[in-house]
């Protein structure tokens, strides 16, 4: 396999992952916030439905998408009217990747927001911030590490998506052939060398993503720790200063197992 081919496949994979993650960012985080902050009838059902793309066979997700996005499906008339061709384009690969990545980001966001004591936000409101300002300046900064972890995991999941992608995007070299699809087709062709080269590229991307998770987002903890007093300024009920119980320190440390890197508890234990 040529270096140009390897670069093109890697670039396409990154493009699919980036577009998928960018597309789900707002809805998944908003949904996570809703689930963390509101209780309503059927919430458990909503949570279960959100998790489905993560637990269903990816190829079943792919078939559902093929029906939804294809020209023969219930929305086929709509796509034709709009002149949109989705199936077997890299957009279809991005949609498939976004759908399977969505639960990771939504659930991680939900847990990150659930770990932020709502009283911070309420206090910020009493100090004159609008709901949006309170969310952007208080809640989101406190939850951002969990949200970013979710986004990163959704991104890495998107990079490796195979089953759903193979159905809706096919394996069209130069158009929809991502790393995962390329590895499969090369193994089928008996081109083990090419398959291994693509595996190496996947390995490098995955390792880079995990290093970002540990390094970059780990440092986030430090800046978050620095900014915490600022957030606490709006909170007169600091745990040490009053008898009022707040679960904030434990809650921050007790983010979901999904998103929490090992060893995080120790850093937080001293506060």
């Amino acid at each position: 396999m040529s270096a140009a081919e390897l670069a093109a496949i890697t670039t396409l994979t990154l493009r699919v992952g980036a577009v998928a993650t960018a597309a789900i960012l707002l809805p998944a985080v908003a949904l996570g916030l809703l689930l963390a902050r509101r209780s309503f009838r059927g919430k458990a059902l909503v949570q279960a439905l959100i998790a489905l793309p993560m637990v269903l066979p990816p190829v079943a997700v792919g078939l559902a998408l093929l029906l939804l996005l294809g020209r023969r499906g219930p929305l086929g008339g709509l796509w034709s009217a709009l002149g949109i061709e989705l199936v077997f384009t890299w957009w279809a690969a991005a949609i498939a990747a976004g759908v399977v990545g969505f639960p990771l980001l939504a659930r991680a966001s939900e847990q990150a927001f659930a770990a932020v004591d709502p009283r911070y936000e309420r206090l910020a409101r009493t100090l004159g911030l609008s709901p949006l300002q309170a969310f952007l300046r208080v809640t989101l900064p406190l939850a951002q590490r969990g949200v970013l972890y979710g986004a990163l995991f959704a991104f890495t999941r998107a990079l490796g998506e195979f089953g759903a992608t193979a159905l809706v995007a096919g394996i069209l070299p130069g158009r929809t052939e991502t790393l995962a699809l390329g590895i499969y087709s090369r193994v089928q062709l008996g081109e083990d060398g090419g398959a291994l080269a693509l595996c190496a590229a996947s390995f490098a991307l995955a390792l880079a993503a995990m290093l970002v998770a540990e390094g970059w987002l780990g440092k986030e903890t430090a800046s978050e720790a620095r900014s915490e007093p600022q957030a606490s300024e709006v909170n007169p009920n600091r745990p040490q200063a009053s008898g009022v119980h707040t679960n904030q320190p434990q809650a921050s440390g007790a983010r979901s197992n999904l998103t929490r890197p090992p060893g995080r508890n120790d850093e937080r234990g001293d506060r």
Binding site: L25, R71, V87, L152, G170, L172, G174, V187, L189, G190
Partner: protein, 254 residues
């Protein structure tokens, strides 16, 4: 948000729309090497044109075409795959042509120690796995017809392992995952360790024909027609013959 900014920046950097002069050709995987040569030659004769080749089982590619894959040209290893597309109104019939023929061969893994010289030898107990594609794949259809002719299809039953397409069959035998397999004579040329065990006699050979056609949904119909013309040309015929393909059956010209 920072990650959104990064994602958008990434998209801005790496987005590149496909060129208008791209031709996407779906082709039976057994045509891999000669079609690659033909496509590269076509590119060199048409400046700015890029020919992308999607190889697979003709049946799989046909299913993708029916599901809406944006293919410009289709090259199948049997008439039936193209007929199925034609029935869906996807084939520009005027441009349809036969480009080559082929033969079946039985291949053996390098590890196989027992003689494998005729159809009946496939029943030897040492052959625990025999690779060939599903019946829906042209090669699988041809190979199973041949086995059935010798009354072996039922007898071999569970020892037949289904592969995705011709080259996956070769790869399975090459890697020793299967003891023997049935592929096209041209595939066997790409073998790394597997060897041709025997070639069924001409009287038993199925009528294997490769057909090509432009598709009605081609984005660059004129370019698709020109590629078909190139496939029908003398240079392409030479490339195919050099790769071991026979002239299309029922074709009088050399």
């Amino acid at each position: 948000m920072r990650s959104a900014g990064i994602a958008l920046a990434l998209v801005a950097i790496i987005s590149k729309p496909a060129g208008a002069e791209d031709l996407l050709v779906a082709a039976a995987v057994s045509l891999r090497e000669p079609l690659d040569t033909i496509a590269r030659r076509f590119e060199s004769e048409h400046a700015g044109v890029r020919v992308q080749l999607a190889f697979g089982a003709s049946s799989t590619l046909a299913a993708q075409a029916r599901a809406g894959a944006p293919l410009d040209v289709f090259v199948a290893a049997d008439e039936e795959s193209l007929d199925a597309l034609a029935a869906a109104g996807l084939v520009r019939e005027a441009g349809r042509l036969r480009i080559a023929g082929n033969r079946l061969v039985v291949i053996a893994s390098a590890d196989l120690r027992v003689p494998l010289e005729r159809a009946a030898d496939l029943e030897r107990p040492e052959l625990r796995r025999i690779a060939l594609p599903e019946r829906t794949v042209p090669l699988g259809h041809y190979a199973r017809e041949w086995l059935a002719r010798h009354g072996l299809l039922a007898a071999l039953g569970p020892r037949l392992v289904s592969t995705e397409h011709a080259r996956a069959t070769l790869a399975a035998v090459d890697a020793g995952h299967a003891d023997a397999g049935i592929v096209y004579a041209t595939d066997a040329r790409a073998a790394r360790s597997a060897r041709v065990a025997f070639v069924p006699p001409p009287a038993e050979q199925p009528r294997i024909v490769y057909v090509a056609a432009p598709l009605t949904r081609a984005r660059a119909p004129a370019l698709a027609e020109r590629f078909l013309a190139a496939l029908a040309g003398a240079e392409a015929r030479q490339t195919l013959v050099a790769a071991g393909f026979a002239p299309p059956p029922g074709d009088a010209s050399p």
